[in-house]
Structures are given as C-alpha cells and as structure tokens.
Symmetry: C2
Subunit: 405 residues, 2 copies
DNA sequence: TTGTTTTATTCATAGATCGAAGAAATGACC
DNA sequence: GGTCATTTCTTCGATCTATGAATAAAACAA
C-alpha cells in the first residue's frame, strides 16, 4: 500500500476523506449533521454521500434515531459504514513484543492481542516471515473475515510513502522494504508508519482541540518518539518519515541508548532505560534492552512512590530530561499543544517536579506560556489504533480510485 | 498591515501570488513563459494577467526581447511591474544598529543604508519614535517617492499576523504593538517579521531547490535564529511567530545570553558572544552585548586564522555548538535542506572541523545523510531583502482586495 | 385531511481551470 | 509583395466543485 495520502489529493478526494474521517470519529450521523460538522452545504453532502452509498461504502441505518422520537418533521436517516466492507489489522512491533488489533471498516475494535517475541536478532527475511505468520495466526484465531489491509507501526525512521524502514533501533534494519515484503507474504496492502506518529494521530483524532494549530505529541514508552501534527495532519520530514526526536542527544556522556549513541532523550526516559537503571541499582545481572512488562514497570514505580531514594533519583533525572526535551520543542516549534503520552505517563507524578523545574529554567516565560501541555495516559494499544486508522484512510482512497478507473 | 498572508487565500489570490512571486524572482516574462514556469495553462495566464494589467500592477514591455530576434512567429510581449506603483522600505533593527533598504515594486534595490543607534535602553514610545524618524529621514535622503509600505525585521518572537512583538531580547519588549505603532506614525501599512525568518525567505526565494520540501535556515549573526520553510512557505508556530531556536539551551551552565539565560546556542555563536569572549581573553574592559562592527569581527577571525590558540579554542567551541544545533534540527525535523547563513559564515573555515565532528557524533548516519547542508554567505542586508519581499506580497494582496471592494 | 416542520434532493449559478479553436503578429520563402 | 508557417495570445465551451434556492419527501399535529 503506497501511502497515497502523501500525494496531492483532488478536491473531491479531500472532501470525501473529511467526511469519512468525521463518521469514524463521531459515529453514525445524518446528512444535516455531517454538513454542520464539516461546515459544508447540505447540497454538497448529498452529492458526496450519494456516491459513497452507491459504492457500498456507507449504508443508511434502518432504525431511526431513538432520541428524535419527540421531534416532528422528516426523521434523520443516519449513515454509517457498511458491515460488509471487511476488516483491517493493526500491528505494533516493539523490541520483544508484537501488539495486534482487528477493527472493522468503521474503525471499531473487534479483537486485540499481544505476543512476546524478540525480533532484534532476526534477519530481514526471517523477520518478515515471523511478522506475516503472527498476523495470519491472529486473523485465524479471531475469525477475522475478509481482512482488507494491514497497518504496521514500529520505532525508527519509516518512509511511509514508499513503505521502507530507513532505520530502526528495534528491528536492526537499514532500508528494509517492509511494506512490500509483508504485502507479498500476506497478499494484502500493508501501510507502515513510525509508532509515535501513529499514536499522535490516534490522540488527535480523539480530541478536536488538538487538530487545529500545531500539536507535538511526545510518546514515552518502549522508546521515546515524537509525532508532530500541523492542522491535524502528520508532519513528514525528508523521505516522508517522521521525527527521531527521541534520539536527540541531551547529555554528552549519558547512558547507553538502543541507537548506539549515548545521552539520548530515550536513554533516560524509555521503559527499557528506567528498568535497566533500576536493575543496576540493585546490582542485578547484566541489563538488557528488552521491553519490561507493565507489571515490572508498575513495581518500580510503586517502590519509588514508597520512597526508595535511589529510584526517586532515577525518576528525578528522567523528569529533568523530559523538561529539557519539551523545552527544546517549545523554543524550536512553538506548538499550540504539547501532549505527553504513552505508558511512561504512569509515573508522571514522580517526573513532574523536576520536569517543571527543568522546563521553566530553560524556556522564555512568554513563549512557555503559549504552549498548552496535556498529559494523556495512553497504553501501547493506542499505537495500533493510530496505524489502523491510517490504513483505513488509505483503503478509502483505494476504493474511490478503483471506482474511478 | 495585518499580514493577510496568514489567513486563508482564495484560489484566485493564490494563483495571483504565485504569478507575481515568479515575476519578482525571474524578472520580466512573456505569458507563455509564465505558464511553463508555473505549470499552468496559457488560458489561465491570460485571464490572470488581464486583471493585473487592468489594475495597473503589471505593464507590457514596449521593447521586444532582443534574444528573440532570430525566431519567427508572433514576438513575445514580456510583462513586468509598473514603474508607477511606488516603493517599499525594509528595515532591520539590531541591538545597536538599524539597516534600511528601499526597493521598487518589482523588488529591485534602489538604496540602502545603515545607522548606528542603541535601541535596547529605549521605552516603547521612544523606540517607535526613533524608528519612525529614522525611516522618514531615510526616505527623504534617498528621495523615495510614494513609499507604499514598510517591512521591519527584528530578533525575537514576532506575531506577524497581528503585528505584535511578543518578546524580543534586543528591543527589551513584551507584547509591543510595533506594526500599529509604526503604522500610525508613518501613515503607512507596516509588516513585522522575525529576522531569521526574513533571511530564510530571501534565501529560498533565490534558490528554487530550497523551495521544495522542508528547509531549515540557521542564521548566525547578531544573534542566532531559525527560519523554517515547508514547500517554500514560512512555518509559523503559536501566535503565528517563528522559532526561537537560538535560545535553546545546549549547555546547562554556559555563557550568559542576551535572553537572560545561560548556555543558549546564541551565547556561543552570535557575533556579540564571540566578540565578548575574545575581549575577555585579552582582559579587556567589561564586555557589552553590543553588535560589534564587521571590522572588529574580521580582526578576530584574522587573528584566529593566524593561529591564536585562545581564539581558535573559541571558534572550536562555537563550531561544536553549531554541530549540536544542526544535529537537533536533523533528528527533530529531518529537513531536506539545512542552510547555514548570515554574517557568522565568515568564520565557517574555523568552525567546520568541530562542527562536523559534533554533528556526526550525535546523529544517526542514515538520517544525517538525508539532509543536504548548504553554507550561504550572506550579510545583514539579506534580512531587509527578505522582509521587503514579504511586505510587497502583502501589498499585492491589498491591491487585489481594494479592486474587489 | 390539511398544515407544519425538518430532512434530503434537484437545479441553476458561480468560480476556477483547461483544451481546442481562432485571432494576431511576425519571419520565411517564392 | 503576397502567401504561408510559426509562435503568441485570446476566446469559447466544457468540466469540476461547491453553493443557495426551490422542491420533494417524510414524518407528526390538529
């Protein structure tokens, strides 16, 4: 699945996308409501929905809206995605874990699962075999019928347009044509995306405030990533990748990072880093870079909350790095919104004092005041949600172009 | 002059702007050439140019293109800006210097000048009186007839849309309504812009490669600023300002910066910083934050090139900071082009070894390779060129809307 | 049955762009 | 000098998108 989103869209395609996006976010709507929601005339909505009904993408709901029982006038006929359109699978690949999600064409969750599986040591072909196998097994287990596309999110610099992983610390890959490799194995279109971008997309889809202006979503979890959106659309750098902000070096000789460098933001804040450093405090065996379980991370956080001074130091240092990172974002991009998200927010109470001190100490107060900072508690499955939404959008376009041809 | 550029433009206005921009960049062109240049049909060009000729913005050249003497067929009639449209003044305000430039409506330079004048100590009203006086005097000296607008660039966070300087280290201003204040005094529309953004705009207007994709222009001079462009249009943060990348803190307890903080990028790289630190080496009197003359800076560079070890250390540290700064830009924004520009490039030979070492040591090689780094030697007068171009663009829009009303 | 109200569609219009046909202005050639 | 070829520019009709206004549709209310 070449990400056609990134190529210029015709006015019709843009309008169509806006309509379908709104329906996925808001649920079934009548034509009038769609018009009001999008700021478009009823005539245009009628025209657009006529094509979409004709193509079988939308269907009119049989049952009337129960809430409208008391109002008189012609009842609304709400429109929604046809059940017969099939489903889409979203995947996230971490250092040693694969998360999977099955959704229908409306984006509603049907099943989700995760599998523990180290991926770093695998060669390119083996990696793609394992992923294809895992996805196929998931589809079979869940009885997924008619899977139309697969979306996959992973850490690293991902060329979403051409479907190539240019660089990834968790896959150990260089210029890996993952989309075509998986696509060939599965016989379906595959869209790939940077994981922080995927989560940022999911979060902004859920909050309309974050879709206007500029929103920087800093995801803290397995790694640290940045998803940056301008007017609700993901920012793309050279080769249409996202950002590798997590691998900005903040301290010249800091702890080891998965990328091979030292002192990266990620090397202080990511789960693997906190877990490793907590192990070192207890003089445990050689640290690994594996993604620790949520249970293990919860134990560390609980121990810190209980007052363990060494662990408190760890979180204090991490909070300081987080403050420095957000400070750089503010002074560089001056976003309207900064969202701190991902599993790492579980320890936000421990991070916050040093986070705010570091942030305030290095930003110009007038500029600091312009950015609203949101903390959104979100787990890894928001990643699969984000990438699945993107795959659905691409599918919408494919269907339109299929009809046109 | 409320910067209407930042409000959504109608399709007609967008087409009109693209046409006039192309004419200013390329010089007089025939309609066919414009069509080829912009990728637009001859019919559309005819339509647009008819309005522009009608409005008196463009005129057809009387003299035929001498190069086309040998070719047969109907000769081209080249179009260009009417001489009668008046002129525009561009201004840059530094810490203790004002640069001025007068251009005609085609953007051609007519006169330029600079004035030494400390501005930091002035109050808001006094500052605007001084600026208005300087601009009026410049207009009189140069015999500028019919000045239609003024563009002013300065350091700091500038709300270009509403014409307010939200924060500026050189003006000591907070939320200063500079555009309206100057506009009232001069009786003309005034556009204000961050200085690094203005220079970035001028540089990208001169090089078409830099107008596609994402271009980050790091200006090193009186201060350090970032102008970031996406597809040739300036990136705007919250409140429609640019970036204050120069005040990103790189070293936790580095040298004093004009912004009041310590260890900012600017505090190592700006002319005032290098000059101050060079003075300190020689145990000269208390350092000031004044902008040193080009002569003084040239002397320091010459002395370093001659092998002065203390000065070489200074430039080595500055180069390292430059490398760190560019590294952050690459990993955060992954631009297609990075331009290092401004008077600071005069010492690029001294900066380069430590610059490249620092850059390579902290960027992921695969990502580092995606960004082309350009060094553009450019003096302060490219700043006034940039802001004058922007004021001209606004004027184009004003004229169109005047006719429409 | 006849209105009233709200929803949805149809239709004519406006704006923008384009391809193709035609008009204009010149040199080439006999 | 007259005709033709060639290139530039304009005009005209067609297409596409979006809209307001008029119309049709589907209910409830009296």
């Amino acid at each position: 699945m070449t990400a056609m989103t990134l190529l210029p869209l015709s006015p019709r395609e843009t309008a169509r996308r806006r309509l379908l996006d709104a329906l996925r976010r808001e649920g079934p709507m009548a034509r009038v409501e769609i018009g009001q929601h999008l700021g478009v005339s009823p005539a245009s909505v009628s025209d657009l929905t006529a094509s979409l009904l004709d193509e079988g993408i939308l269907v009119a709901e049989e049952t009337a809206d129960p809430a409208s029982g008391l109002i008189r006038g012609r009842p609304k006929t709400r429109l929604y995605f046809a059940e017969t359109l099939g489903s889409v699978i979203g995947v996230w690949t971490g250092f040693n874990r694969i998360e999977l999600r099955l959704v229908d064409s409306a984006g509603r969750n049907r099943a989700s699962r995760h599998v523990e599986r180290p991926l770093r040591s695998l060669g390119a072909e083996e990696l793609m075999d394992v992923l294809a196998g895992t996805i196929t097994a998931f589809a079979e287990e869940t009885g997924a019928r008619d899977v139309k596309a697969v979306g996959l999110a992973c850490q690293g610099y991902v060329d979403t347009k051409d479907g190539i992983v240019a660089w990834s610390p968790v896959l150990g890959a260089r210029d890996l044509p993952l989309a075509s490799g998986l696509g060939d194995r599965l016989g379906k279109p595959v869209l790939i995306e940077n994981d922080a971008s995927a989560m940022a997309f999911a979060i902004t889809q859920r909050n309309s405030d974050l879709r206007s202006g500029r929103t920087a979503c800093l995801m803290v979890g397995d790694g640290v990533g940045l998803g940056f959106l301008i007017q609700g659309e993901l920012y793309r750098g050279a080769r249409f990748g996202g950002s590798e902000f997590g691998h900005v070096r903040l301290r010249r000789s800091g702890p080891q990072c998965r990328c091979g460098g030292r002192g990266c933001i990620e090397a202080y804040l990511a789960d693997y880093a906190l877990h490793r450093d907590a192990q070192l405090i207890d003089h445990r065996p050689a640290p690994t870079l594996l993604l620790p379980s949520e249970g293990a991370m919860g134990a560390i956080v609980a121990q810190a909350r209980a007052g363990d001074p060494a662990l408190l130091n760890l979180f204090q240092a991490a909070g300081e790095v987080l403050g420095d990172a957000v400070g750089i974002l503010i002074q560089t991009l001056e976003p309207d919104h900064i969202v701190i998200c991902g599993p790492g927010t579980r320890a936000m109470d421990l991070l916050r004092p040093s986070f705010e001190a570091a942030l305030d100490s290095q930003t110009i107060p007038e500029l600091r005041a312009l950015a609203a900072i949101h903390v959104v508690e979100s787990s890894m499955d928001l990643l699969t949600e984000g990438v699945v939404m993107q795959a659905l959008r691409e599918l919408d376009l494919d269907l339109a172009r299929l009809k046109a041809a």
